[in-house]
Subunit: 332 residues, 2 copies
Amino acid sequence: MKLIDKAAIVGGGVIGAGWIARLIENGIDVKVYDPADDAEHKVEAVLKNSRHAYAKLTSAPRRSEGSISFCVSIAEAVADAELIVESVPERLDIKQAVYAEIEAAAATDAIIASSTSGIMPSDLQAKMEHPERLLVGHPFNPVYLLPLVELVGGEKTASVTIERAGEIYHSLGMHPLHVKKEIEAFIADRLLEAIWRESLWLVKDGIATTRDIDDAVRYGFGLRYAQMGVFDTYRVAGGEAGMRHFMEQFGPCLKWPWTKLMDVPEFTDELVDLIAGQSDEQSGYMNIREMERIRDDNLIAILHGLKGNNWGAGKTLARYEQHLMEAANDPA
Amino acid sequence: MKLIDKAAIVGGGVIGAGWIARLIENGIDVKVYDPADDAEHKVEAVLKNSRHAYAKLTSAPRRSEGSISFCVSIAEAVADAELIVESVPERLDIKQAVYAEIEAAAATDAIIASSTSGIMPSDLQAKMEHPERLLVGHPFNPVYLLPLVELVGGEKTASVTIERAGEIYHSLGMHPLHVKKEIEAFIADRLLEAIWRESLWLVKDGIATTRDIDDAVRYGFGLRYAQMGVFDTYRVAGGEAGMRHFMEQFGPCLKWPWTKLMDVPEFTDELVDLIAGQSDEQSGYMNIREMERIRDDNLIAILHGLKGNNWGAGKTLARYEQHLMEAANDPA
């Protein structure tokens, strides 16, 4: 059973296009507004990847793809949408202006979901006429494969909006995570920023190259994080004595003299050059499309592997396939 | 071709036992010294997991297992070892005392590798008679499955020691990463500490539970980190414009007012209780052995998946299997 039939995407960059891919794969018709000249071309490039990926992702009967139409105005895109996804640049003033245009044309019960990765929903909805229907639905790239979507409501968001959005994301094969307290950058990006800061220092101080850091992640703890996250990993590391033992052992290390690394390194041209140069040396032999394909193929392989054990993201995939099977058996 | 026949393990905890598992799987005879009464029992528990794991990991012809003998002294354990792995508690004085005992009995050309996750090798080797043969070889739990081992030399470490150790780890199916500049906690644990600090704040401030944080990792960026690490992920996120574009977009976000989260939260009993309690609620329905089995099965599934694409840790596994095939064809 589909929960919605029509959606609108405002902003067709990498994230907006990823949403389009996930929505049409689930048989939902999508109207898109993006003022850029090459928007259609860029969306097509993402859809080329996503179609390749979905064909490998599941052996369950897939739906017939929803339609895509590109519109000349926000009003045209959102007029009959049940779900409106905003993925425009990360500036509060731009987003607020977009919501004003959306509200002038959309149904009052349409859900408006911002893809922002950092701005608080209370700020986003501050000037809205019907702020109760706005929430943050923060996805992760590639949106058509990664299950996580962080749901964050603002002061004026109705709880029914969060619930309904969660059900919709769920039906799209995602894992909605309700962030119960508003905070800038939510949960995942807080952690990512912490790693990013530390990585910048390591490169800046010549301790490690970008390749060293990538290898330190993907041959080691990245393989754990794909399934267990931070706390379960340490729970296991604590052995029979568990989490309390681990914290007693590990906690004091936080007092080590690492204070310097907690500052933010200055974002100079030299630092940008250093990192961009090392990254070119590391991976410049591939173009971005090749890297995306490799990433997607690996994600699919990992999701399949985890599905075998019915754990983490594999469980999400198993649930999604079951949903597709039920839909195929009951086309009404 | 085996590069060594005999190794010694000093300290048989989770890490030492993981090393034992990896060494005997590769046909190397291991002598173990650990003063704890239940050391043998604990090592056996790890070997039960590792044997289960190795049987699933590879379809290449496995070697006959090396032998294990538990010794009553460090001297007995290290006397004829070519590689001596130290995995004792993380205190400099304890480790230095252990090296003195090792040096009194070991061959002068034996490699001494510390499993320390944070202490600088120059400090470790400061009082040694033959410091040139000591290096840090920092592995990741579970040592018998995760490929990463960080190699760090101190001021007095001979470059031939690093090279030789790298070759040995390589032959054991690992991915040796040479950290070229000494720094406390090396590379991976720096990143892990950054995440850990941020996670503690999120729990302490009631933004997220341990389960929320684990889910934010394993349904999202953890699936990326299992294959691409920090910089390649962002290179792709930058789209055609690549790394420079990404940094120009993303860099300024580091100036957001997150300073508070860069402090270290105070490690109070309340914080330990809060986290241990949430962790129990999240995963207390499984015992640690069950969790280890799930973790290992997932790691194997991920490694298999990545092997299909010959990328990251999958490449390490493919290389290891090739090594096993060659050994089987040339038993001399």
